[in-house]
Amino acid sequence: MIKVLFLLIPLFLFGNECIKCHPNKMEQCKKSNHFTLKNSINITRKVWGIKNSDVTLQTLPQSKLKIQSLKDLVDDFLRRKCLKCHLTSKTINKTDNLCLACHNSHTNKYDAKKAIPTQAKCLKCHNNNFIGTDYLGLFPHDFDKAYRSPITKDGKYPPRPYGIDFHHLNADIHYELGMSCIDCHKNNKNKKWEENISCKSCHKNLSQQNHKEYHNKLSCNACHSAWSISSYELNVLRDDTPNYKQWSRLKVQEDKYLEKFLKKALKSKQQIKPIMLDWIDEKLKDGIWYSGYRFRRWENFFLVNSDDGKIKIAQPRFQYRISYKNKDGKMILDDVYKQNGSKIEAFLPKEPHTITKQSKSCQMCHENKIMFDKNLIYKGMLKGKVLKGSPLTKEQLDKMQSNRYKLERAKSLF
C-alpha cells in the first residue's frame, strides 16, 4: 500500500514527471492538434465569418462583453459550448499532468504497456457526431425526453455513457474483431499521428475485381463505410435571460452541466441566474447556450473532393442558425443563417469509422438522390461550401451516371 502511494506521489505533485524519461514528447504534444485544437476552432470561426483565423486553444480571445455580430459571438460559443474537451480540461483530466489525459501512468519501462491509450480514454472526447463512437456503432438519440428509451429489464432508463443516449447500429468490423483505436492510430516518430494511418498499410493485396482504375480517386472509406452521422441545421441560442420553462422537455442537450443546471432551475422557486461554464478558464459566465437540430440521420451521405486528392464522404454538420438574446431580453441576433448572401454552412470531407465487409452497393453513390438533387425532400438542402475540399464537378457527376457506369453495373447484376 505504501509502495503504491509512493509511486503515485510524483505523478500528482509533479505534472512534468513524465518528461524525465520522455524529454521530447511534451514538445511534440504541444504542437499537436489534440493540444491546440486549431482545426475545430479555426473552422468554426471561419464558418461564422472571421477571415484568416489562426488561433489555438491557448490564444483564443476571451468572450466579448458587448456583442453585436456573429464575429463577436463565435469565441464565446467556442469557449462555452464546443471546447468542453481539451487536454487541460478538468472534466477530461483530473490531474495536473497533461499526459494523463490520454495515457495511464506507469512507473518503469517494464510496465510501459500500461500507458498505451485505451479506447475508453479516446472516447471520453470522441463520443459525439465526429469519428469515435461511430466505431462502436453508436448513434446519438434525439434530445426530447421521449427518447430516453427503451426502459431496461430492471425498469430503469437506459445507461447513458458520456451523457448521451445511443442507438446501436452495426459497428466497425475492426471493432468487432477486437481492435481498439490505437491499433491503427499508432505512434510514429516521423509523422504526425493524424497522417499516420492508411488502410493500405495493412490491407496490401486488394482484389483486382472490384478495385478498378476508375475508382482510384476514392478513399477506401467512401465505399466501405456503412453509415455516417449527418446533422441538419444546428440551431444555437445564447440566452442571457432566465427563460427556462420552454426547455423542460429538452433538458438533455448532450451537456451534463446544462442538464444539471436546467433541472435545478426548473425546480427552484427562486429565479436562478443564467450562467454557464467557460470550458477554458473554467469560470462561470453570463448566459446559457442552448442547441437543437432540425434532424439527424445515419442513412444519408454524399461525396465531395477532399483537398488530399481523394473523394470522400461529406457530413452535414455546420449548418448553423444562430440567435443571441441579451440581458434586457433584446434579440441582438435572431435566427441568423445567412451572411453576405450565403448560408452559414460548410461540409467537411470525413472518413466515417463504420467499415463493414460488404461495401456500399454501386447505386448508393451513382444514383444517390441527394448528390443529384433529385430527392424532393432534400432538394437544394446540401448546396453549401465544402471546407478542405470542393463539391464534385459537373463532369464528375456526369461520369457517375454515364453509359459506362450503366454497362458495368448491369454486368455485375446479371
Partner: protein, 588 residues
Amino acid sequence: MKIILTFFIFVSIIFASNKPDNCITCHKDTTPIDNFHPYSEFGCASCHGGNKDALDKQKAHKNMVLNPSRLEHANMFCGKCHKDIINRVDKSIMNDMHGVLDVLRFQFHETKTIQKTQGIKDLKNIPTNKQSLAEDHFSKLCAACHINQDEKIFKNSSYTPRGGGCVDCHRVEDVKKLGVKNNKLKLKHPKLSTKIPSKNCLKCHNRSNRIGLSYFGKFESEGYGTPYKNGKLTNKIDKGRYYYELPADIHHTSAKLDCIDCHTEVGVMGDGKHHAHMEDAVDISCKDCHDAKFKDASKFGLSAMLSAVNGSVSFAQKVAITSKKQTPLYNLQKNGEKIEFFRKIDGKKFDITKMSDKEYHKSKNHQRLDCTACHSSWIPSCYGCHEVYLKNGKQYDWIKHKATKGKWMELRSYLRYESPALAVGYNEKIMPTAPGCQVITSIYDKDVTNDGFHSFAYAAWDPHTTQKQSRSCDDCHFNPMSLGLGEGILDMKKDKIVFQPFYQSQKSGMPISYPIDALVSKEGKQFQSFSRQKARGFNQKEVKKIVEVYKCIVCHNTWDDKIYKDFKTSKKMFYDKKTSCSKEILND
C-alpha cells in the same frame, strides 16, 4: 334556386303551426345560425326545447338544452329533420372510436382476432379496476378525440376543445356573449355550416397517422422546436409537440383544397353500417376524381340537396359518383364535354387532371399498386413505441372525466419520413406503410418492475403527401427501405440478394431479433405483423421479382422505354441474346 325554394316550402309546412317563440323577448338580437334555420321559421324551442310560451326565465329554461347537437339530444331536436344522419353518425367510428379500441385489444394480445365492440359506449360502465390494459390505455391516451366528447373538460388546457356532437365539425364560429343591453342578453349564436373548414378536422386528425398534418406539409418533428425565433421555440403543434415543413400534398399546394373537397358526406358521417375500420368507412378514392364516372344527378336527391346547402357550388345535371358507395360528388361535374371541379368552400372552379393512360398506369405489372404507392412522397414514421405503465400512478381518464388509477407514459426510438416502405395493404393492393405501432411495454407495480409484453406491427395508409411526380423506378425496385427490409446496404451478386442492415435492435435494448425498421427479411420472412387480416409485407417471391426488374432499370430507367411495352417478351429476347445489350452483358 327552384330546389332551395322547394326546400323552404317543405320546412315551412313542418313548422307552420309554430307560433313565434317568446324567447325573443329576452334574446332579441341573437345572430343568425345560417340560411337554413331562420328563427322566423324554427323559433328557438324546436331546437333547444324549454317552454317557449313562458315569459319567466326559470320557467322558460326548464328542460331546455343548451347544445341540442350532442348526440344524446340530437335525435330529439336535430333528428326531427335529420334523423337519417344522426342514426348514421351514431354508428360511425368518429363517434365511438371502436376501431381504435378493437385494434388496440388485438395488438395488446387481449383478443386473437379483431373483434368489433362499441368502443367508448362499452367502456363507460366498466370500473377502472375491471378494465384491461388495452382498455385503460385507450381511456387515458386515445379517447380524448370523439365527436361527442364533453367540450367543457378542455377548459384551462392547452388542447383545442373537441366534441359537442354535430357542432364538433359543423360549427364554424363559436358562441359568444355580446353583452347585456336593457337587461337583454345579446348572443352570438354558433354559426353552423356544411362548408367545414379543415381546421375543424385537424382538432383530432393531427395524431396517430397524422394525416391532417402531412396534408399541409407538416411533419411532427423530433421535438427540437427549431428554428428558434425571438429566443423561443417555434413551430408548435401543441404541448411538447413541434413540426417542421416538408413538401405538402399537391391538392393543397396547387388548389388549396380542404378535407371536405374529397371526403364525402357519407364517407365522413357514415353509411349506417358499423364498420370495423376507417378505410371501410371512407368513401372516396383517387380514381373517383381522376378517372371519374358520371351519372345523372336527378337520380340522387342528395346531390341537389348538398349543392343547395353549400350555396357556392351550383347544381349540375351530371355529377361524378364514388366507386365504393355510389354516392354523388356534387362538386365534380360534367357540363357538356367539360369536366369541372369546384372547391366547396368558395365554389372556385378547377380543371381536373385526368389519370393518364400511359404505359406506367396501364401496365399489367403495376396493376396491384395503389395510387399512393408511387405518388406519396413521404410518410410520418415513428419507430419503437415504448409504453410505460405505472399501475399506482394516476392519470386523467377521457371517458370517466376524472383522474383514475394507472398512468401511461410514451417513449419512442426515432422518427423518419423518407422512402415509405411498401407492403400489401388492407385492400390487397400495394401501399405505403410505417410502424403502427411497435409496442414495447414496461409495467410498474408498487416497487416491482415487470417485463411487459411486446408487439411490433406495421400499418398501411394513404399518407396524404401526394405529388404529381411519382417515386423513381429505382426508389422502389432497389431501395431496401421501400422493400420493407429496413435501412442498410442492398446489393445483388450473381442473382443472389445480399443485404446488410444497419439497426441493431437487441444491442439497442429492444426485445426483438430483427432490425426495428425491418418489416420482412430478404427471404420474405414476416418479422412484424399488421392489424388487418389481408395486409402483409412482401414475400420471398415478390421481393425477388421486384429486385429482378432493377437489373433492367439500371439502363432503362424511364417508363416510355420500349422494353416495358411488353416486358415479358423483352426479357426473353434479352436472355436469348437477341438484343443489342444482352450480348455485351451476358457474355461477360
